[in-house]
């Protein structure tokens, strides 16, 4: 009995994984097929990228600020208060910028995509699209994938910058540190590997957000309740995957760059 349930659960997981891979693969293959509809990509880029700027600015700034606040005390104990800037910039660029932006955009857009596509599924708009001879993977999924990957890349950079500035503001105005020393230490010790790591992560996270959001949206079943379920699952799964893949990518990068 229990074995049966386990069996079925395992089979379902494999089937879902297969569907997920098919959806992502086929959506991406549309990138290389002419004509490419840039208009759909721009519309999505606008709603995902521009729409997310305020939350990315706010979280970035306060994260940088709190990092400076919390670490400067410990660093000063060892007489190393001068490298507060370095610590903030390392943390922001390699970890917190990409991860927090990813989580924020996941909460905002993975849910948005799942509920939008889910509603289109339950009102048969996706079937109507197929019946009218156009591919929903090309019209709906591909533009969201491309737009999220590109936009998250720039949003993460924005978050890094605002975070370092937020840390600077705290260091200077609240901790009384020297501003030029802070900014000097924050970029002086950065090497290519750190920046590269910080730029690779948002590309993966963007892909996770859009593909998971679209996957749960496109596999919505059972009316409005199903849309709610798809939305929640999309946010939960994409957030967990972002954090898990962050670990994997970090480990890989340390392997490659040695830091």
């Amino acid at each position: 009995m229990a074995e049966n349930t386990l069996d079925r659960a395992a089979k379902n997981i494999i089937l879902s994984l297969q569907d997920y891979a098919l959806l992502s693969g086929r959506a991406l293959s549309n990138l290389f097929r002419r004509p490419l509809t840039l208009a759909d990509i721009f519309t999505q880029a606008d709603s995902i990228g521009v729409g997310s700027i305020p939350i990315v600015l706010l979280t970035g700034f306060f994260t940088g600020g709190v990092l400076a606040l919390q670490t400067s005390a410990s660093l000063s104990q060892f007489g190393a208060g001068a490298i507060t800037g370095q610590l903030v910039s390392f943390s922001m660029i390699k970890e917190l910028g990409p991860v927090l932006t990813g989580l924020m955009v996941s909460g905002r857009n993975a849910s948005g995509m799942a509920s939008e596509l889910g509603s289109m599924i339950v009102t048969e708009q996706v079937d109507a699209m197929r019946a009218l001879g156009s591919d929903p993977l090309k019209k709906l999924v591909m533009p969201r994938l491309v737009a999220t990957v590109v936009m998250l890349f720039f949003l993460a950079i924005l978050s890094d910058m605002v975070g370092i500035m937020g840390g600077g503001a705290i260091a200077v105005f609240m901790l009384g540190q020297d501003g030029s020393q802070y900014f000097h230490s924050s970029y002086q010790s950065l090497v290519f590997g750190d920046i590269f790591q910080g730029l690779v992560k948002p590309v993966f996270f963007g892909f996770i957000i859009a593909s998971i959001g679209c996957f749960y949206g496109m596999s919505t079943k059972g009316g409005t309740q199903g849309v709610g379920r798809a939305t929640t699952q999309a946010v939960v799964v994409s957030s967990v995957l972002i954090i898990a893949s962050d670990f994997v990518i970090s480990r890989l990068m340390i392997g490659i760059f040695g830091r």
Partner: protein
């Protein structure tokens, strides 16, 4: 009537599939079965639709009528049996080839399924825009299609601003804008008042008699089914009229589904004279 004549000319210019394949059925269901979550939705269904024929599908709620139309359009694949549309096995076609095939099939969904983020104009023009048809031509054809369903003045509205019956008619306009040879109507009059229903049936009759398209039509309203069978389109006054002497349209025939099986396949007269207790109960 000038543009109607123009449209006729345009329709006549292109060779249709039934013209190049005379005597071949447009749609063939052969032993089609579909199961869903352990129960059988459709069980060994076989029938055919010839060129210019209208087949009315009747049956109680939940018997699988909508599913049957989706199967015909390749939106769902059958578990067994073959479905042939325009000579192609839709159960086996790749999705890309299905998109090509569907260029000749119009579908009206049960709930309309209009794109709620697009205006009526963009909904109706969807197919033309996808094919990158020139702007002026799109405009002309959208107006023509909307005039056909008598909704020209809604062109800039959004679907949420329309009544149920209007949405249904926009959905018909969207389905027929590319002059499809096969139209699949899923309950086009479901949940509508008798007057609006008659307007919609008139559109279906016009599409049948004026453009000679083949169709599969699901309906819950027996009355509409009989109107379809006993009326013809008069292009002189652009109205539907009753056939003289109580005659029925030879090309309009019936399919009745019951508990997943096809229990009736025949003409209007056969249907009204059927002895089958289920059919008797259903049509009375």
């Amino acid at each position: 009537m000038a543009d109607a004549a123009q449209a006729e000319q345009a329709a006549g210019k292109r060779e249709t599939w039934s013209q190049t394949h005379p005597g071949e059925p447009v749609v063939v269901f052969d032993g089609v079965s579909l199961r869903s979550g352990g129960h059988t939705v459709l069980d060994n269904i076989s029938f055919r639709v010839m060129g210019g024929e209208t087949r009315i599908i009747l049956g109680p709620a939940g018997v699988g009528k909508s599913v049957l139309l989706k199967l015909a359009n390749g939106l769902i694949r059958p578990d067994s049996g073959t479905i042939t549309v325009f000579g192609e096995n839709v159960g086996r076609l790749r999705e890309d080839d299905l998109f090509t095939l569907r260029a000749h099939i119009g579908m009206v969904f049960q709930e309309g399924a209009l794109f709620d983020s697009l205006t009526v104009r963009d909904n109706v023009a969807y197919r033309l825009n996808e094919d990158h048809v020139a702007e002026e031509e799109v405009d002309r054809r959208v107006r023509e299609a909307l005039r056909f369903v008598e909704l020209e003045d809604t062109i800039d509205k959004f679907p949420s601003q329309l009544s149920g019956g209007m949405r249904r008619r926009v959905s018909i306009a969207r389905a027929i804008i590319s002059d499809p040879e096969l139209v699949l109507y899923d309950s086009p009059t479901g949940g509508l008042d008798p007057i609006t229903s008659t307007t919609i049936i008139e559109i279906v009759v016009k599409q049948r008699d004026f453009y000679n398209s083949s169709s599969l039509l699901v309906t819950h309203r027996l009355q509409d089914a009989f109107t379809l069978a006993t009326h013809r389109f008069n292009d002189g006054n652009n109205k539907m009229e009753k056939l003289p002497d109580g005659k029925v349209n030879e090309n309009t025939t019936f399919l009745v589904l019951h508990e997943g099986k096809l229990v009736f396949d025949g003409s209007t007269l056969d249907l009204v004279h059927s002895e089958d207790p289920f059919i008797r109960e259903f049509i009375e």
